[in-house]
Amino acid sequence: MLHFPRHRNSLVQLLREAQEQHGWLPRPLLADLARELGLTLAQVEGVASFYRFFHLQPVGRWRVLFSDNITDRLLGSEALMAQLCERLRVKPGEMRTDGRVSVAATSCTGLCDQGPALLINHQLVITRLDAQRVARIAELIESDTPASSWPAEWFRIDDNVRRADVLLGQPIAAGQALAAALARGPAAMLEEMKRSNLRGRGGAGFTTGTKWALCREAAGSERVVVCNADEGEPGTFKDRVLLSRHADLVFEGMTIAAAAIGAKQGLVYLRGEYRYLLEPLRETLQRRRDAHLLGTAIQGHDGFDFDIDIHLGAGAYVCGEESSLIESLEGKRGTPRIRPPFPVQQGYMGRPTTVNNVETFCAAAHIAVQGGDWWAAIGTPKSTGTKIHSVSGDCERPGLYEYPFGTRIGRILEDCGARDTQAVQVGGPSGVCLSAFEFGRRIAFEDVPTAGAFMVFDRSRDMFEVARNFAHFFAHESCGFCTPCRVGTALVVKRMDKLAQGHGSRHDVDVLYELDKLMHGATHCGLGATACNPLRDTIAKFRPAYERHLKSLYFEPAFDLDAELSVARQITGRDDPASHLETAE
């Protein structure tokens, strides 16, 4: 327990550190923790069982998690996982009886440009898997060879920056942007942010200057700056690269925000899948403290005190939603809060809190240096500046592409070497699916908004299977709080699996439409509201892909009624037409 105070707000962090030591979380350990933190065992159990990366049952000493995004599947991840399981003689999701290994799948690990990928013990990442690599991994696990002597090449993570514009291409020296912001003063910096018309890069697109101003004006003395580095949207990996290449700039953006709103405390919520970035990020923080860019009297400004801590998530997509993220930071289950109050009014520990995306903070640092008008001159009137896209799927050059807003979808496809493209999923599963006739549309809040994912599918792909993968993702990631999402996502999965098995009919497609409509309006948060987006888009645009999976265009029950009666026919010795159910053809 090195890093976190033994306080109930640190529960998620304490559980994670305990699991790093013990391998899993036995009940007596939860009870000890509960006693120490003044919580009940049931409360601690409730938190521990919320996060996918916490294990309340023993798991193998080697815990292998295959990334299960559709892009990993396009690259053959399912077969590779089956091969590893076979070689290690273990069933997916189960621990081998000798306790040595368990293998399972997890949601997207943010390495779509170099997949198929897997995580080992939530600490190590192996990219570019193939059959050979999988065979060697099985041998090394079998012989219990420490990962430190595995081939270093396997753990290589590339940045793959293919097209750089302002954010990826114009470096800023550490401290330069902050000095510019401090020279301006808080009020003028806020003014500059408003003038830039920068909209948040996390998806919702709220104007950053306005958010900061609301936070500054909110009642309360202690304010908090939170960097949302949860990057849970499948197909998105831009924040990973920003955190590896431009961590200084991210922290600098947070410090500028702190100066503008008057905050002393900063928190980074780093997704558990990016555990390997934790130490390098902590080192960067220390370097910044040593350089007086964090801590007390920053850059010699008396009274300007600010520091940043990093919290790690533990495998829960919904924790990217800002109020769930705050719950998680407070050591709780990541259930979204009721709003109002909004985080800018009452966020982390009831304090006014601004939550912004990693890329948003990078943009803010650039705006501090070059001014709001400069930023506003890039892009389109309602979508100023540039946007980084995480391109993956069927293309020659997957990786990061930064363009001014207003760029055509077709342009991105040409640049990344996509051929014979059938569809593009923009903004991840919760975004939009575009078919070829829409490739003239543009990336912008006015047309096709995005949080960063750009997944390409060529004509050989079955768009129904793409939608089915996304349906499983949402059901797996639903927090379970509200009825329409908790039950709705599970029902969608049932229907999609039924269609995949060839038992479906048009009636099932109609029910999917009905669920989409319900979930859009009735859920508590954006996860459930957008969970059916890919379904709706693919049904509308790739209907033949669905119809290929329909057994009949009419109602088809999940079981064969007439076959169910065969036992009765045997007993009565009948097989005449009247002993069969009428089947609608």
Binding site: Q43, R333, E477, C479, T483, T489, A490, L518, A558
Partner: protein, 235 residues
């Protein structure tokens, strides 16, 4: 000076500052269907049965602050149909065999389903495996009917000061847990006189040896519809 008002299906509903739509509507004698909301507790917002249209946008009436001039739609064909679907979801998610349930006639879920004209499950049943906890001398827990409203969690925490219950898991695996080393209710300090023992709107937390004291036909919702004032939520 006239009171501030919003409209509910075209009728003026007065409110006091700080009211949510549901609070104000209920006080004025209107019925916005709900399960997880209770006047003694803060809004929870999980069941979503109280979803209404506010100036054209869907929102949970238990969570939206009343304000002057809002146009709220409540009993429209679309919204009541949606409620019916949400109720059907709750029914198929658990195991609800009303004819054999002690809560029948006193059950808010059942009464609301009647009120919304629900006639069948519509979706395929999940038939989850949820073992009963009969370890407590006076109280039975039949998790098969839990709708995760968290009223027992809230009552035990806020009124009884005991924290007997908590929510665990995620997604469709979300479930209620009991606070004891064994996870059994018999190993807690729960008492039949606790507020948490009486608040369950469905038939999960049941007193033992009282079964069918009031005959079916003479129960709470056999007498009055759930829409009546004073009948809108569990005790």
């Amino acid at each position: 000076m006239s009171e501030p008002c919003f409209t509910l299906d075209g009728e003026d509903v007065p409110f006091v500052p700080g009211d949510t739509l549901l609070q104000a509507a209920r006080r004025a004698g209107h019925y916005i269907p709900h399960l997880c909301w209770h006047p003694d507790f803060r809004a929870h917002g999980s069941c979503r049965i109280c979803t209404v249209r506010v100036n054209g946008r869907m929102a949970a009436a238990c969570a939206v602050q009343a304000s002057e001039g809002l146009a709220v739609e409540n009993h429209t064909e679309e919204l009541d149909a949606q409620r019916k679907t949400l109720l059907q979801m709750l029914f198929i998610e658990g195991n609800h065999f009303c004819p054999s349930c002690e809560k029948s006639g006193n059950c808010l879920l059942q009464a609301t389903a009647y009120q919304m004209g629900m006639e069948g499950p519509h979706f395929e049943e999940f038939y989850p495996d949820r073992p009963v906890d009969a370890s407590h001398p006076d109280i039975l827990l039949d998790f098969n009917r839990c709708i995760l409203c968290e009223l027992c969690v809230r009552a035990s925490h806020e009124i009884d000061g005991k924290n007997v219950f908590a929510i665990a898991g995620h997604g469709i695996g979300t479930h209620l847990v009991v606070n004891s080393d064994s996870g059994q209710l018999g190993d807690t300090d729960m008492a039949l006189t606790d507020r948490a023992a009486g608040i369950c709107p469905v038939g999960v937390i049941l007193p033992k040896r009282r079964g069918f004291v009031i005959p079916i036909g003479e129960r709470r919702y056999d007498q009055d519809s759930v829409a009546e004032p004073g009948r809108q939520e569990a005790s």
